[in-house]
């Protein structure tokens, strides 16, 4: 068991390191550099010599390997560097942006789970055939709608037309409603599909008719079997959906004018703000790796068959 845990930890660290290195070189060779993005605008009126000086002052003129080494050692010692665009320390920028994004992504994920359960239950247990059919068609529809478009339509309808939720001057809670709804829709779809298929699978098992015959209710069946069946794939997906949550945050934070990691990412890309991008990649890679590590370690706990295999 412990050797398994250690091996997974080692893999996780390796993945982090490779992600860091790959991103560093990818970003380094992007055309258009941060110094020009920040100082090249003609209205600043800086001469090319002055721009070169700035470049030297932030160390952007050093050989790439030196820069890589400095960035790596910096990250290892917790120094994420300074944003070329704003001059602020990257760690303080992250600290300021993280809570909002964490709140947004967590709410979205929870909402997605609720949506998925609603869809799955309605599509299996609704007494109306038409309702079952309609809800079954929802997941494919959900993953066919662009998030940005959905977000804009949601604002138009719920905020501007119906006046239910303000976008400007909203309370923290109000400000979460529409953006998390927009993000949760495409994420709810795969979760709902897993639940639906798990329910189908369980219901097609011969033992179901037996327990039913013995008078078990639908609820009992579900809790015992469906959830157990669906939990593992759902967990796997939760780990994988992280990337989509980030993408959703980039889009919705821009549309709703929220501050957060997503907005920061978009602006950092536009300004070629390498230290910020590097930190965002490491942060999200670390979160991703961590979630997956937890999921992997939970597998054996949840599934006795796997436990045995791990021990072997």
């Amino acid at each position: 068991m412990w050797s398994y845990v250690l091996r997974r930890l080692g893999q996780a660290l390796l993945v982090l390191f490779v992600a860091f290195t790959a991103t560093f070189f990818l970003l380094h060779y992007l055309p258009g550099d941060s110094v020009i993005a920040r100082y090249g605008s003609p209205q600043l009126g800086l001469s090319s010599a002055e721009v070169a000086e700035i470049r030297a002052s932030i160390g952007a003129d050093q050989p790439v390997w030196t820069q890589f080494w400095l960035a790596l050692t910096g990250f290892l010692t917790g120094d994420l560097g300074f944003s070329t665009q704003t001059g602020a320390s990257v760690s303080s920028m992250l600290a300021a942006a993280l809570p909002a994004t964490a709140a947004l992504t967590l709410t979205s994920f929870l909402l997605a789970v609720v949506l998925a359960f609603t869809i799955a239950f309605t599509s299996t247990f609704s007494p109306f055939a038409w309702l079952r059919r309609v809800t079954r068609a929802l997941p494919p529809l959900f993953i066919s709608i662009p998030v940005f478009w959905l977000a804009i339509v949601l604002i138009q309808v719920f905020s501007f037309q119906l006046g239910l939720v303000p976008v400007i001057g909203a309370s923290d809670l109000q400000a979460l409603i529409l953006p998390s709804l927009a993000i949760s829709v495409p994420i709810a779809a795969p979760l709902a599909q897993i639940l639906v298929s798990s329910i189908d699978e369980v219901r097609s098992q011969p033992f179901v008719s037996v327990v039913r015959a013995k008078g078990a209710s639908n609820n009992w069946l579900l809790w015992r079997n469906v959830l157990g069946n669906a939990l593992l794939p759902a967990l796997t997906i939760a780990g994988l959906l992280f990337g989509e949550l980030i993408a959703g945050a980039v889009v919705t934070e821009t549309i709703f004018g929220r501050s957060g990691i997503g907005r920061m990412t978009e602006q950092a890309v536009a300004n070629r703000d390498m230290p910020v991008l590097q930190a965002i990649v490491v942060l999200s890679a670390a979160t991703f790796v961590l979630i997956n590590l937890i999921v992997d370690l939970l597998y054996p706990v949840l599934d006795p068959r796997l436990r045995k295999k791990v021990r072997a």
Binding site: S34, G87, S159, I168, G169, Q267, N271
Partner: protein
């Protein structure tokens, strides 16, 4: 007087909105008084707003809270009469809407642009047309007083409402608060409200008035020495005093820059040598060469005065995230900032040094302004329409209709500067010859472009300069749409039609690339429409793709970008030099890699910025415009306005001379 009055309508495009003050005589009705002058805000082709706002210009008494219809009718007639009599254009007639402090008049077909009647009569520019309003207004003064009395309860309640927080929507986050480099419009909402200047430029008349300087400067004969007397008792928001030494420190930085801190020289200040403290309240600035534009330069946000400590900031310290550390002496201070999304301006209670000429004195009327960055146009407009915000900047042309149907008003302010247009890179092999450049200009139907993409807030350009800019001269003869002439010129230049309809010369395709001017309205769509038109005559125009960082970099390379789309805002003769001179923005890339393609243009531009006599500067500016037009160096499209959407309960919203927002006199009427 009849409500239905038809006037001859001008066949020319109406132009952007400007405040026109309609002075009325002081009439008394019982215990209350009618304001001696009322501002009329001519919003757009659809509407006129006449504001009965609290304490308008200097000398005005507070206006009444509500008006009776007769008063309104008369006010309208004053405007129409004034317009009819003196500017030869008029409004046709109105349906009235009265809200508590303002009345709105709808279905007015045409309106007068009091600042630039030259639009209405091309070739006959008249500079000070607000004057004409005054004449027309006084003629009807007596009847107004009568009508007002007859109205009964027309009366003033006294002081304007104070307090409250204004929600202001900005399009992009600001990028720097170092005043000399703060031309980007989102920076203006901060600097214009937190920093005072030595002089104040009246946004309508463009005249200069004292502000932190108690008098207009004394200038020596060749405009190389400017002496200012500094107002006493002015303090920065950190409590330090605004002294003569501090003023000198400001201009020594702005005029010379600091290359060690990579802080640039203000493009508004030319030939600066040094500042000198003469005595406690007197400073003198010395220049190497004549610097006639300096007095105006001290009134722009690029010369916003900052505290000693702030002046020691580095380039990064002026950047985003540090707004609360930028200390000015203005009516507002930055109280809170959320990087890239939001900041709050708080009014200073002890502010008491507004320009004497300004209609409002003392501290700002509102408590705070909440500035929120909403990059999505649809969200910005929707928030305004649904009443979630009070004022929004950058209302795109396509959204004006939506605003018109709502409560909110559209207020377009001219930037009175170099027009939005295409600048040809004159050193590039294709654009080297005059015929090709002229052909491009004649192949573009600018009116059709404006018709399909813009509204009446965007007047057709008639020169490289806007018609309400200082030194404007009409060059419209050079910008006529004539596709046949364009084809002729192209053939003369040796461009033969190729197999796919795009012309070629010696195997070279007539292919040009233009950048997307990200801050300018609908740049990509404008390029799309122009490209459609140019294809008709065999010219291929491509829109440079790429985000801002990439465009900034590539736009400096004539191999990648042959046509540069841009504009620049500053209300002085010098602005034309700022845009075209090789040492400033150099949009023509005249002087790329140390090789000046056209030295004649350079010397014309230098004249504008160095001739000490104003009359000579006017002539120099006219010559430069003519030169740019004759040589087909630029294709101006429209006089770029700043378009704001303003809720009717927001009173007293104003802009400085090139349309940056001022919250100083704003009050909220609940």
């Amino acid at each position: 007087m009849s409500l239905r009055r038809e006037f001859v309508l001008s066949q020319y495009r109406p132009v952007s909105a400007v405040m026109a003050y309609v002075p009325l005589p002081l009439g008394r009705c019982g215990r209350t008084a009618i304001a001696p002058c009322l501002p009329a805000n001519i919003v757009d082709a659809g509407r006129i707003v006449i504001w009965g706002t609290p304490s308008q210009r200097k000398g005005c008494r507070p206006a009444s809270q509500s008006f009776d219809e007769p008063v309104l009718v008369i006010l309208l007639n004053i405007i129409t009469q004034a317009a009819n009599a003196h500017v030869q254009t008029a409004v046709s007639m109105p349906v009235l809407h009265i809200t508590s402090q303002s009345f709105r008049v709808e279905t007015v077909n045409q309106y007068v642009h009091p600042m630039s009647p030259s639009h209405l009569r091309p070739g006959h520019p008249r500079r000070d047309s607000s004057h004409h309003f005054r004449l027309g207004a006084t003629a009807l003064a007596a009847s107004l007083a009568l009508a007002a009395c007859g109205g009964g309860d027309v009366g003033a309640e006294g002081d304007p409402e104070t307090g409250g927080t204004l929600t202001y929507l900005e399009h992009q986050p600001y990028d720097t608060l170092y005043p000399p480099a703060a031309g980007f419009y989102p920076n203006g909402a901060v600097i214009n409200n937190i920093a005072d200047r030595l002089l104040w430029q009246d946004p309508e008349t463009l005249e200069l008035h004292p502000w932190i300087a108690t008098e207009l400067p004394e200038v020596n004969e060749d405009a190389t020495e400017f002496t200012f007397t500094i107002r006493e008792g002015v303090t920065y928001s950190d409590g330090t005093e605004l002294t003569a030494e501090n003023v000198v420190k400001n201009f020594d930085l702005y005029g010379r820059g600091d290359s060690e801190r990579t802080l640039s020289v203000s493009e508004a200040i030319n030939n600066y040598d040094h500042g000198e403290v003469i005595d406690e309240n007197t400073v003198r600035f010395h220049f190497d060469e004549p610097a006639p534009g300096f007095a105006q330069a001290t009134s722009t946000i690029n010369s916003g005065l900052l505290s000693d400590e702030t002046l020691d900031h580095t380039q990064e310290d002026f950047g985003p995230g540090n707004a609360t550390t930028i200390i000015g002496s203005g009516p507002f201070v930055v109280a809170e900032e959320e990087l890239g999304t939001e900041y709050t301006l708080e009014a200073r209670e002890d502010y008491d040094w507004a320009p004497e000429e300004h209609h409002h004195q003392g501290p700002a009327l509102i408590d705070a302004v909440n500035v929120i960055v909403t990059p999505e146009d649809s969200v910005r407009i929707g928030s305004l329409v649904s009443g979630q915000a009070d004022v929004a900047r950058q209302i795109e042309a396509q959204d004006e209709e939506q605003l018109e149907e709502s409560e909110a008003e559209i207020e377009a302010y001219g930037t009175k500067s170099v027009n939005n247009g295409f600048n040809f890179r004159i050193g590039h092999p294709i654009l080297e010859d005059l015929e090709t450049r002229q052909a491009i200009i004649h192949a573009v139907d600018r009116e059709a472009v404006l018709e399909s993409l813009f509204t009446d807030s965007y007047p057709l350009a008639t020169s490289p300069l806007a018609s309400d800019a200082l030194g404007y001269s009409d060059q419209s003869e050079h910008y006529e749409y004539d596709p046949d002439r364009a084809i002729e010129l192209l053939e003369e230049a040796g461009w033969e039609e190729g197999p796919d309809g795009i012309r070629e010369r010696d195997g070279e395709r007539l292919h040009l690339t233009v950048n997307e001017a990200h801050p300018q309205p609908r740049s990509a769509e404008l390029v799309t429409v122009v490209a459609q038109q140019l294809r008709e005559v065999g010219i291929e125009l491509e829109l440079l793709s790429g985000d801002r960082a990439q465009q900034n970099e590539e736009a400096q390379d004539p191999e990648l970008v042959q046509i540069f789309h841009s504009m620049v805002g500053r209300a002085d003769y010098d602005v034309i030099k700022s845009q075209y001179h090789s040492e400033n923005r150099n949009v023509l890339l005249n002087g790329y890699e140390d090789e000046v393609t056209d030295p004649e243009l350079e010397s014309l531009l230098e004249d504008i910025a160095s001739l000490p006599d104003e009359a000579d500067r006017v002539v120099a500016s006219e010559q430069a415009q003519e030169y740019l037009a004759e040589n087909a160096y630029v294709l101006p499209f429209f006089e770029e306005p700043q378009v704001y959407g303003v809720q009717p309960h927001v009173l007293g919203f104003e802009t400085e001379s090139v349309a940056r927002p001022s919250f100083y006199a704003v009050s909220l009427d609940d």
